[in-house]
């Protein structure tokens, strides 16, 4: 892989690590499958691009974070106050956001800021090729650092326990609805930040930018947990919040490296007949998530089958 391709993959990986960290918060910690993400990612990007066009790129990033948080709030209110099932609440927000995102982008399917100043411009001027990577790493480190610090506070502890045993949390005088809301708002703020940075990174935002992001994020998280999480557990026998954030970063970067490798070698004899392109990666992501989540069920089914076969064999052998 060329240095340019490698750097590009790492840059994208670190950008998407923010989405993965958001899903770590909503999916792993709060145990909620939050499908708002597909919408709030694009919303963050759209808000970021439109504000950046007015000449205020950093305000654009802030707009991306705030609008993402707002999307999370809408989903949370639907779940906790209006009695809508968690999955459906996310789908409703995501669907509604499609129309809103088009309105944010003045009814255009795609908006670009080519030739305008973005948050990356001063870093590229000062540091050249490494500029983008440095900025992404800085923003990512600050955002994930804040997330980890938050989860280690008294409030953060209550959020973590909410996903583990809601009833116990309620009887410890914690407002469970408030904790879920807080978690979803923070998760989508991270997603909005990711979208906002990505839009300025690629100097454009299109309305389909967020499609499948939730699955990509979950696949990254699962890859990260399988590689980094297992490694940390093997070395320290512990799995804390910090490990979770580490899994998000490692998983998201590995995911982008896998894509880069697949695209580079899609003409190799073994792969040529599949005609793999970048657009096939969503299918691959979906498959990764299916396999990883179904693995425990498949394993116990197989174990049961083996056990049954063994007992039947014994019964036959011992009979007569």
């Amino acid at each position: 892989m060329t240095a340019v391709a490698l750097r590009g993959a790492i840059e994208l990986g670190l950008l998407y690590a923010l989405v993965t960290a958001g899903l770590f918060l909503s999916y792993r910690i709060l145990n909620l499958a939050d499908l708002t993400v597909d919408g709030s990612f694009t919303l963050g990007g759209a808000a970021s691009i439109m504000v950046a066009l007015t000449g205020h790129p950093w305000l654009g990033i802030l707009a991306g974070v705030l609008t993402g948080a707002l999307a999370g709030l809408v989903t949370a209110v639907m779940q906790t106050k209006l009695g809508i099932q968690p999955i459906l609440a996310g789908i409703l927000t995501m669907t509604g956001l499609y129309s809103i995102n088009l309105r944010v982008m003045d009814g255009r399917a795609s908006v670009n800021v080519i030739g305008k100043v973005t948050v990356f411009t001063p870093f590229q001027n000062a540091l050249g090729d490494l500029g983008k990577l440095v900025l992404i790493a800085l923003v990512g480190a600050v955002a994930l650092g804040l997330l980890v610090l938050f989860l280690c506070t008294q409030v953060g502890l209550a959020v973590r326990a909410t996903g583990d045993n809601e009833r116990m949390v309620r009887s410890s005088s914690v407002n469970v609805d408030l904790m879920k809301t807080l978690g979803l708002v923070l998760a989508n703020a991270l997603v909005g930040l990711s979208g906002a940075l990505l839009a300025q990174y690629q100097q454009s935002c299109d309305v389909g930018m967020g499609t499948g992001v939730v699955v990509i994020g979950l696949a990254s998280l699962i890859i990260g947990e399988a590689v980094f999480g297992t490694l940390v557990y093997f070395c320290t026998k512990r799995q804390g919040v910090l490990t979770g954030a580490g899994c998000a970063v490692v998983g998201a970067v590995l995911y982008r490296l896998i894509i880069a490798l697949v695209i580079q070698y899609n003409n190799a004899p073994a792969l040529r007949f599949l005609h793999i392109t970048a657009s096939d990666m969503k299918l691959l992501s979906a498959l990764i998530v299916v396999v990883a989540i179904s693995y425990p069920a498949l394993r116990s089914a197989a174990a049961l089958r083996r056990k049954r076969a063994r007992t039947q064999k014994q019964a036959k052998g011992g009979g007569s």
Partner: protein, 266 residues
Amino acid sequence: MLELSHLVKTFHPGTVNERRAIRDLSLTVPEGQFVTVIGGNGAGKSTLLNLISGALFPDSGSVRLDGQDVTFLPEHRRARDIGRLFQDPLMGTAPNMTLEENLSLAYLRGSHRTFAPAPSRKNEAFFREKLRSLDLGLEDRLKTRVGLLSGGQRQALTLLMATVATPRLLLLDEHTAALDPATADKVLALTDRIVRENRITTLMITHNMASALALGDRTLMLEQGEILLDVSGEERASMTVDALLERFQHQSGAQLVNDRLLLSRG
């Protein structure tokens, strides 16, 4: 002090499934009193505790705790003053978090949660001391995930969590029924000690008539949502399980139907 006045709760009113779970129930439990509650299945014991804890709201009547009307206060607000244990030992603890994290969460009950670090190092010695008092060897396992503990250990931990920030009222809903007899005895002894040491006003539901008489200061028997029997003091001290059963049959004017046999005498 807990004051219940004219509580009424009917499930599915106006349908064929209508069930009057609590009918005009009034009860005053003075500060520091330990009350045991017995009654057959469907007598309304758990509903009563749910009305007190705020998991359910009554159709009429009021619940007052230390003079404050809490009848319609949401469960999590009331939980500032009320500790509660359930029959299922898995219900009261978060399995994927450590003992220390569980205790930290419970210790903050009733106080305003801030962005201060938690679990904080300054509580570690205190938690260790509290765990040592359980005498289950848990004091060296602060960093262990609670899911790795046995049911009895988890229930003892839940008891500690419910009382580590001393509540005004402790509700125990057959909290030893799912444990093996030896562990149940141990948890009951712990319950008695913690309640006495902290002088916590307590309501304990039990299926075991012997422990209903042996523990606490006062015994209530519930039947069809009403208090059928209320004994304390001398009368209770000299009462045997047989005498209790006799009084029960006499008062209810009914024979012992199947579900009442679920009350165990042992």
